[in-house]
Amino acid sequence: MKGMTVIVKTISSWVKVLIFLFGIYIVIFGHLTPGGGFAGGVILASSYVLLMLAFGREFVEKNLSLGVASKLDCVGALLFAAIALFGMAYGAASFFYNFLQQQYQYGQPLKLASAGTIPLSNIAIGLKVGASLFMVILALSTFRPNGSVEQKE
């Protein structure tokens, strides 16, 4: 998998930045506009998948290897759990207590700085979904059936 022609490589090297920025926008503005962590995470993964299809697998593994992707996956999951535990630590309330909104009431509705822990949770979910989907597609592309089918019984 050495990559495609020079036309595809040039176009995808321009477009990848726009797709990545759009993913970040979808994640950060998830509490105001349609989108959120799930859709934004998949868009972030798809920008790397575009690079992998255009430039070949080795180029992407230099930028974001499988180990780094799995670490990012774990960081997203831990961040999401930590937000839940912080809610438990604040006040007498329960798991997933929206402590930033309930205690401090900062920000106004329809502004970017509002909604307490929801943007933080969006970022955690986006990190987790994007890293894990990139990881599974990298694993699918790494897999090579070495040799022919010799074990046919």
């Binding site: 959120g36 799930f38 998949v42 989907l133 699918l140 074990q151 046919k152 019984e153």
Partner: protein, 122 residues
């Protein structure tokens, strides 16, 4: 009427998953069933001449974030949308799992035909 058409889609997927011999066809049947279920859940919350459950500037009635009664009376149901949003992403993960099982089986036996795979015979 739309509910019945949506259920027809589900039945097509169930037929594909039960009757076909090809492993990838079975995966496709399961995906069609997922689409049908997602579509049915969203349809349950639809309201005629409704609007999306996103508060705009014109819907805010008070300084503390009260919404106007117009929004309450025209918004569609947000709860099925929230459940389906997670279900779609889970379906992608389970699709990857099923496809990796298919690839492994192809490498071991050299075919996608489930009647040719003798070890799976019960």
């Amino acid at each position: 009427m739309p509910y019945a058409l949506c259920f027809l889609l589900f039945m097509i997927g169930l037929y594909c998953a039960v009757v076909k011999k090809n492993m990838v066809k079975i995966v496709i049947g399961i995906m069609v069933m997922e689409y049908a279920v997602n579509l049915f859940l969203i349809m349950l919350g639809f309201r005629t001449h409704g609007e999306a459950p996103i508060v705009g500037k014109e819907h805010i009635a008070g300084p503390a974030g009260q919404v106007s009664s117009l929004f309450i009376n025209t918004s569609v149901d947000p709860l099925p949308q929230a459940l389906v949003l997670t279900a779609i992403v889970i379906s992608l993960g389970s699709l990857a799992l099923m496809i990796s099982i298919c690839i492994r089986t192809y490498e071991k036996y050299g075919t996608f035909d489930i009647t040719q795979i003798r070890r799976l015979r019960g």
